[in-house]
Amino acid sequence: MIRLQQDDFNVTTLVEAAKSRETGAIVTFIGIVRDDGIECMELEAYHEVAERELAVIRDEAMKEFPLHSVDIIHRTGPLRVGDNIVLIVVSAGHRKEAFLGCEYIIDRLKQTVPIWKKEYLKDSSRWVGGEERHGHS
């Protein structure tokens, strides 16, 4: 499943759904709003293009590594410190490829998917720059 949504996700539910009889390893990545002195943040996306880019990244990862399934859920809208931002669930027969696939996906996601974050501080706000600048994780 590839989805942009305002609602939170349930990690357990997605992990269970990712299993097949051949699954021996599932690696998940969860990105979370970190307290960099902020009160909250607002996520904005170029929806159609972001979902399409996420599907492209999933397809790339599944071509590159022997994965069984890839799910990516990215939230949009207002989020507070501690809230989930993104969930990536990668299932595979063995752990090595599950780790490699999951890390590949979050790295690519941060480079190419049109999503932006505006951080609200006590008396000001700022747009978060891309990776290698103030990326959250």
Binding site: E44, V128, G130
Partner: protein, 92 residues
């Protein structure tokens, strides 16, 4: 011809998320951006650098496909095209 402009993040804050431009047939990307700049100094400052060229950090897409190199200025727009403008992405 009609071209839709989608703007995100600080570009959205300046010109709104969606604009419609009525441009002459054959107008390139640069023409559309200059058209928007004419109506907003803030947009011009955000989009162009001091030399008057499109700032390197500005990302442009036509119909959801990123355009790069010389195409960023010269690619010709067509009726019904969606031109998107935004700063570097920061998801995840």
């Amino acid at each position: 011809m009609i071209v839709r402009i989608k703007a995100f993040a600080r570009f959205r804050e300046i010109i709104g998320s969606e604009n419609t431009l009525d441009l002459d047939e054959g107008t390139p990307v640069l023409g559309a951006l200059k058209n928007l700049s004419a109506g907003s100094k803030d947009f011009r400052d955000a989009c162009f650098d001091r030399e008057g060229t499109i700032a390197s950090h500005v990302v442009l897409m036509i119909n959801g496909k990123r355009i790069s190199g010389r195409d960023r200025e010269s690619m010709v727009l067509h009726d019904g095209d969606e031109l998107a403008i935004f700063p570097p992405v920061a998801g995840g």
